[in-house]
């Protein structure tokens, strides 16, 4: 009671001073007790930046939009809260919402990192597979001397895969993926050029016929204790048999289109069939040569049949002068089988007119594929 009466008396005595003091207190006091902004604000902004850096807008656009929209709403509410009279400011609700948003954002980040990792693994796998296919096609194209049609697209495939590797290294999976799709197109182009030539090499009926020719030649060698020669195009090899047993194997070169069966003169293909050496030429344009009896009766019948069908041009001749000769195994012949000169010396010495020679595509269908 005594205090009240003193205050009342003061009010009466110094009304102006009390108003002035109250006004200054009004201005000063709130400034001393402003509640700090929740630390989650900075964390949410930092997470927003991390999400952007992790390319979340690309991998999870909807979630990123939702995160950003929610952050925007919370920030707007924070602004409203900040403008309230200082004693009424309460950031607890905003902080709670930010904590929940942070959890959501971290979840997105984890999911996107996982997504990226699986994308990286997937693209790396695709890249490795395409590189392996390119290597196989490169080997195949070299084996069958197919440089004209397919090497161009094969090189483009190789280059595009190389680019994909660069993008993958930079973490740009979309560009890497796009490059791999382009590379697949070039690989398909290459395969389309190669497979018509190679199809015969996976045909079991054709392989069985080739195997029969090889077996017949070897059987003859076994029966008469003599020599037989089997040329396998797929292996690019020539095996010399003595008394039915493999004696020596040589690497060989084939015709320009050596992996195809010879149909007519000038086609650059190496004939397939059962032949015999008909003459030994110790002076040849290609070092030494063993002349074969191409075309044999079967070749002639086939030539007439295909000509009638129009598969062989009307003016084409059947060709001839197919030899096993020297001057190097790594070249392209006009259809002959070529050996290194040292090997030719050896074969020339052993072989004789009448020696059976089987020229086949392959004896094992798994040789190439």
């Amino acid at each position: 009671m005594a205090g009240n009466s003193l205050l009342n008396s003061n009010k009466k005595r110094y009304p102006g001073k009390i108003i002035l003091l109250g006004f200054f207190l009004f201005l000063i006091l709130p400034g001393c007790s402003a509640p700090p902004l929740p630390m989650e604000v900075g964390q949410a902004e930092s997470l927003s930046h991390n999400l952007w850096k992790a390319r979340v807008p690309l991998y999870a656009p909807e979630e990123y939009k939702a995160y950003e929209a929610d952050l925007r709403r919370i920030k707007d509410d924070l602004i409203k809260e900040k403008t309230r009279f200082i004693w009424f400011r309460d950031y607890q609700s905003v902080a709670a919402r930010l904590q929940s948003l942070l959890k959501y954002g971290e979840g997105i980040l984890t999911r996107v990192e996982g997504l990226k990792e699986s994308k990286r693994t997937e693209i790396t796998g695709q890249l490795t597979e395409l590189e392996s296919r390119i290597r196989d096609l490169d080997r195949l194209s070299q084996t069958i001397n197919e440089g004209r049609l397919v090497r161009r697209s094969l090189m483009k495939a190789g280059m595009t895969v190389h680019e994909a590797g660069l993008f993958l290294g930079n973490g740009d999976f979309d560009q890497a993926d796009s490059r791999l799709r382009t590379a697949s197109g070039y690989i398909k182009e290459t395969e389309d050029g190669l497979f018509p030539i190679l199809n015969r090499y996976s045909n079991t009926t054709v392989i069985a016929r080739w195997r029969q020719w090889a077996n017949e030649a070897v059987a003859e060698s076994r029966e008469n204790g003599g020599i037989a020669i089997v040329v396998s195009k797929m292996d690019r090899s020539m095996t010399l048999y003595k008394a039915g047993k493999p004696y020596k194997r040589y690497g060989v070169g084939l015709g320009r289109n050596g992996f195809q069966d010879k149909l007519h003169g000038g086609d650059g293909a190496t004939p397939e069939g059962r032949y015999r050496i008909i003459r030994k030429l110790d002076r040849s344009k290609y070092y030494k040569a063993l002349l074969l009896n191409y075309p044999n009766d079967e070749d002639k019948r086939e030539f007439i049949r295909l000509k009638k069908k129009g598969i062989i041009p009307g003016r084409a001749s059947i060709g001839g002068l197919i030899e096993i000769h020297g001057s190097g195994k790594d070249g392209m012949t006009y259809g002959c089988v070529s050996l290194d000169n040292e090997d030719m010396d050896e074969v020339f010495r052993i072989a004789a007119p009448g020696t059976p020679v089987a020229i086949v595509g392959a004896t094992n269908h798994k040789a190439m594929f």
Partner: protein, 204 residues
């Protein structure tokens, strides 16, 4: 005493009038936004993505500050801090634009250099092929490598297209890929030539 109260009241009224006149810094906002837009138009998102994002974030922060002031009682608004922030955004965006131009120029230079190096590598491979001995022993290899060189040549117009579209970063990668492949072909040709040389030497 009355004089003192009157003095305070005048002071308060004057303060309220001065601060009450505060208006949104629309000019500064426009300038900052334009500066960011100009930087983006110059390609900053491609060449300096981090800096562009930061400038954008700073602009958002400045706009938030404006919103904060907007929400206050009209007579208590103060856009001083917002103006300062906007000035910083503008300066930052202008720096990004300048740096982008420099980066782009550097990328252009590198792309053109890469293109030159790729062309030179292809020319070297082609030249080696032309000089390669065309005997029976190398005919197949030469033909295969000619196909390889054709494939490399086919990629040059694509590279030129990228440079034409100012897609310099992609062009650099493409040029690198072409050069590496061309060097590979040259390496193979050189190895083949060495093999031929060695063979000839052996026979002598």
């Amino acid at each position: 005493m009355k004089g003192l109260i009157r003095c305070c009241a005048y002071g308060l009224v004057l303060m309220l009038i001065v601060t009450g006149c505060a208006k949104q810094p629309t000019q500064e906002m426009g300038d900052a936004q334009k500066a960011i837009g100009d930087a983006k138009a110059a390609g900053s998102e491609k060449y300096l993505p981090e800096d562009t994002k930061k400038a954008g974030d700073s602009l958002s922060a400045a706009l938030d500050e404006i919103k904060t002031q907007d929400s206050k009682f009209a007579l208590l608004r103060n856009y001083g801090k917002a103006k300062e922030m906007l000035a910083q955004v503008k300066a930052e965006a202008e720096r990004v634009q300048t740096d982008t131009a420099a980066k782009k120029e550097e990328a252009k230079k590198n792309a053109l250099a890469g293109q030159g190096a790729a062309k030179a590598a292809i020319d070297e491979a082609r030249g080696l092929l032309e000089r390669a001995p065309k005997g029976k022993g190398t005919k197949a290899d030469i033909e295969a490598m000619k196909g390889d060189v054709k494939g490399l040549e086919d990629s040059l117009p694509e590279l030129q297209q990228m440079i034409g579209k100012e897609d310099y970063l992609m062009a650099i990668d493409k040029a690198t890929a072409i050069k590496e492949k061309a060097d590979g072909v040259s390496g193979q040709i050189k190895a083949a030539l060495e093999k031929v040389k060695a063979k000839k030497g052996g026979r002598k």
